[in-house]
């Protein structure tokens, strides 16, 4: 029986047509093929597994790298009346997990982190149900050469086998040809069908402004934001900077509603800010890279980078959140020379340096000589050795790979340890080099004289569609020619709390 996919799409998601790539991918998935899908940000990647999950019998498992991303997706699906969805994460308490295990047969779609998926009891749980589709979201995390390498993604191919080799769908928004090859090799699926769609955004103009210092950034932004009353995102590389600039903006832009968003906020506050922005209760959000994933706002007009991202991949993703409705939108990146210091430090902090590494080895050697195990608690180890989460995750993976540790067991101390140390140290050096290389790439792009659109996309795809409106600051972009539709801002009438409460509870007679 031929399924009418358009009908299913309308029925479950209230869209009448597919966006480019969706239908092709879904058809191949439903036919049991393994698929690699590269779809640009904002093109509705998640429909590619959500719809098959609804249609197919059994369970669809989605591996996703970020808990916040999973939670957002679950919330959004539930809001769209798809209730048979769940995210398992390591923060759940015993009771909550037991409830999920008990009800595992009732779910159609399950999100999980790669780390949790490597646990034996989780595999056992999934072996008891029919897994109809295995999805790897943000599949570029598989690649050593990807910008967000996550070691646990490398173990996915053996997990897929343990689950009876269900059809596999790997999805990413950014993947250079070499990363694509890496994904296919690592999953050990040479016959994967590739669906690669261009990521360029013809409706976005690219603007780079070089300045001397932060003061100049403010001098550019205040008049600009005064002129344009449009939904705007401003990206910062630190939480504090986002908070401080929010304060600054609200003092200098009286008639604009400004908020900030970062991963350090309370969950309730995060939902409130996200939804206020969705709901046009907020005009400008100052945020870190934590904001935006899973945000489906179609009329974001302006994306400003107050700080540079660590690589072009992130930049392309963040910029891709503008103008999903196809209308003319602008990306503005502000750059001053001192901005390069911060990312350099960020990169170095992500990985253990020589000091940390020898510290960790000394600690392990002492434990090993005393015939002791590692503590069972990763956080305890991190605190003991003064490591951050990323550093320890990296080290644990490397140490396990060399069999120096296995769970909490430590290998007997011997001469091999020196070789292992050298080999890990080598990996650290090449990772740092790779990251610095990525940073150099974006730095080079910022200082480019040629067309910014051409040079931005050239390493990701052979050709692009060109600009639909203005192109870029190197091709003569001028603000005076950009006049997006201005947003009406409701003036909040000053009500006393009784009337506010009445209005909120829908008891005022105006309705």
């Amino acid at each position: 029986m031929e399924l009418d996919l358009e009908h299913e799409l309308l029925k479950h998601f209230h869209f009448s047509t597919f966006r480019p790539g969706q239908k092709e991918i879904i058809q191949d998935v439903l036919n049991g093929k393994d698929v690699l899908g590269i779809l640009p940000t904002g093109s509705g990647k998640s429909i590619c597994y959500q719809l098959p999950a609804i249609i197919m019998d059994g369970l669809t498992i989605v591996v996703s790298p970020l808990i916040s991303l999973m939670m957002d997706q679950v919330k959004e699906m539930k809001a769209n009346h798809f209730k048979k969805v769940i995210a398992i994460n390591s923060f759940m308490n015993f009771e909550e997990r037991r409830e999920i295990y008990r009800k595992i047969h009732t779910y159609k779609l399950l999100f999980i982190s790669p780390e949790l998926l490597n646990q034996t009891f989780i595999i056992k749980l999934f072996q008891g149900v029919k897994v109809s589709l295995f999805v790897i979201d943000e599949a570029h995390c598989i690649s050593q050469w990807g910008h967000e390498f996550r070691p646990d993604y490398l173990k996915l191919s053996s997990i897929i086998e343990k689950l009876g080799t269900p059809p596999t769908l790997a999805l990413s928004a950014t993947a250079t040809p070499e990363v694509q090859t890496d994904i296919i090799t690592s999953l050990n699926k040479p016959k994967m069908v590739k669906h690669i769609y261009p990521m360029d955004k013809p409706n976005i103009a690219f603007c780079v402004e070089r300045v001397e210092n932060d003061q100049e950034k403010s001098e550019i932004l205040i008049p600009l934001l005064k002129k344009y009353k449009i939904p705007t995102l401003i990206y910062f590389s630190s939480r504090l900077a986002a908070e401080n600039f929010t304060r600054y903006l609200s003092e200098n832009l009286q008639d604009r509603r400004v908020g900030f968003y970062h991963a350090g906020m309370e969950p309730m506050d995060r939902v409130m800010i996200q939804q206020q922005f969705m709901n046009n209760q907020l005009d400008i959000v100052c945020c870190t890279s934590a904001f935006g994933m899973g945000i489906n706002k179609s009329n974001i007009r302006l994306i400003i980078h107050y700080h540079i991202p660590l690589q072009l991949e992130s930049f392309i993703q963040e910029v891709g959140r503008a103008g999903r409705d196809g209308k003319s939108s602008v990306s503005l990146l502000l750059f001053s020379k001192s901005d390069m210091l911060l990312p350099n430090n960020l990169i170095k902090n992500e990985l253990p340096d020589e000091n940390i590494l020898s510290n960790v080895f000394r600690y392990l050697r002492d434990l090993s000589l005393q015939d002791m195990d590692l503590p069972n608690d990763d956080v305890q180890i991190q605190n003991l050795l003064n490591l951050n989460e990323t550093q320890w995750r990296f080290l644990r993976y490397q140490l396990e790979k060399h069999n120096l540790i296995n769970g909490i067991k430590i290998m007997d101390y011997s001469e091999i340890w020196k070789d292992i140390y050298q080999s890990i140290f080598h990996v650290v050096k090449s990772r740092v080099k790779l990251k610095i290389g990525k940073l150099t790439e974006i730095n080079k792009w910022i200082h480019e004289d040629k067309c910014l659109r051409d040079t931005l996309y050239q390493s990701f795809q052979p050709v692009h569609n060109g600009a639909e409106f203005q192109c870029c600051s190197n091709c003569g972009f001028t603000w005076s020619e950009w006049s997006p539709e201005q947003q009406e801002i409701e003036s909040s009438s000053e009500l006393n709390w009784e009337n506010k409460l009445k209005k909120l509870l829908l008891l005022d007679n105006s309705r």
């Binding site: 809001a79 409830e99 908020g259 506050d269 409130m272 206020q276 209760q281 506010k500 509870l505 008891l507």
Partner: protein
């Protein structure tokens, strides 16, 4: 300035008899016997668990600030103790704004009540407008379940319930200042109108984020108190209160011990059955003594010894166990002193 004032209150009460981090545990509401008992001993039970989200790093930074501002002074570097300074006392006494808290008593009830209220209001207003694709501001399976059940019962009569919530909330909010009532209302989420984040409220009302948080907690405690006194006047809001017995405030492990205790097992027997150290069982008994009015203290400390301990407390001018122990005869154990302190403080609170 509310947060600073509360911190200074705490330091003033513990008189450097405990380390600074004990106050961090108190505000965070750590479920340990030591913390709960400290709350009673130093009459800081109103502040127990009123700042569950605070991080140690932030707390330490705050303490440093207070020391730098000469409101707090270091007492002992090694024991990490601080005390309120003379300047701190003067400053604190000049703060006129004071808040109502019942932290220990409403430890479990606070989050449940506000979670249910927020989510129910969001659900009812959206459903009244036939809008079912909203993102819930509360993300807690138990609260979701409660709201879902409630919603099933009242579906179709949203307006009636909303009207009732309005009049009941109005009665509660009238007891607050204008500013407080506004803060509370601005935090609520309705149909296509999401509530304000703590930072937004802080900006709007020109206060710190800490103080906004504490004001919201205080308002919830006041509402809970109002509902407790006169639940018949507030039929809808009262359903949102989670009415578990006060014994549920005991830590999980202690309540397990409590079951054996009620069955008449001795400390040694419980220790055997539960495979826990005798000292751990002692800890549990002290905790149980704090909550159980019928606790048979005489079984563990005879009346004579009780009096001796009480005298020592008075003479020592301190609740520091070491100081008290030095003033009583050798046979009296730390466990017995702690039991007496626990019961003594309970009576003090009951008498107030």
């Amino acid at each position: 300035m509310i947060f600073e004032r509360i911190l200074l209150d705490c330091f003033q009460n513990i008189q450097a008899e405990r380390s600074s981090s004990s106050i961090y545990h108190l505000l965070k509401g750590k479920r340990s016997i030591q913390t709960v008992q400290d709350a009673h001993i130093y009459s800081l039970d109103p502040y127990y668990g009123i700042y569950k989200n605070i991080s140690k790093g932030y707390y330490d930074k705050k303490i440093q600030e207070l020391v730098k501002g000469d409101l707090l002074e270091k007492v002992d570097e090694k024991e990490m103790t601080h005390n309120i300074s003379h300047q701190g006392l003067v400053w604190k006494n000049n703060q006129s704004y004071s808040l109502f808290f019942k932290g220990l008593l409403y430890y479990d009830k606070t989050d449940v009540f506000i979670g249910r209220l927020l989510l129910l209001v969001q659900t009812l207003t959206n459903s009244k407008m036939n809008f079912y694709s909203f993102i819930p501001v509360v993300n807690n399976p138990q609260i979701e379940l409660w709201v879902r059940n409630m919603f099933r019962q009242v579906k179709g009569s949203e307006s009636v319930i909303l009207q009732k919530i309005y009049s009941e909330l109005k009665l509660c909010l009238f007891q607050l200042t204008e500013k407080e009532a506004n803060i509370f209302v601005d935090r609520l989420t309705g149909y296509q109108s999401y509530g304000m984040s703590l930072f937004q409220l802080a900006k709007e009302y020109e206060m710190t984020v800490d103080d906004i948080h504490l004001i919201l907690i205080s308002i919830i405690h006041r509402i809970l108190n109002t509902l407790e006194v006169n639940s018949t006047k507030f039929p809808v809001l009262s359903t949102m209160v989670d009415n578990q017995s006060s014994l549920s405030q005991i830590t999980n492990s202690a309540s397990e011990t409590y079951k054996y205790f009620l069955n008449g097992l001795t400390v040694e027997q419980i220790s055997n059955v539960r495979r826990l150290k005798i000292n751990t069982i002692y800890d549990h008994l002290v905790e149980i003594a704090l909550y159980d009015d019928q606790f048979p203290i005489d079984q563990y400390v005879n009346v004579e010894e009780q009096n001796e301990i009480l005298c020592a407390v008075k003479r020592a001018h301190s609740h520091r166990l070491k100081d008290i122990k030095e003033l009583v005869k050798n046979e009296i154990s730390y466990f017995q002193i702690r039991l007496v302190l626990a019961v003594m403080n309970k009576q003090k609170i009951g008498g107030n």
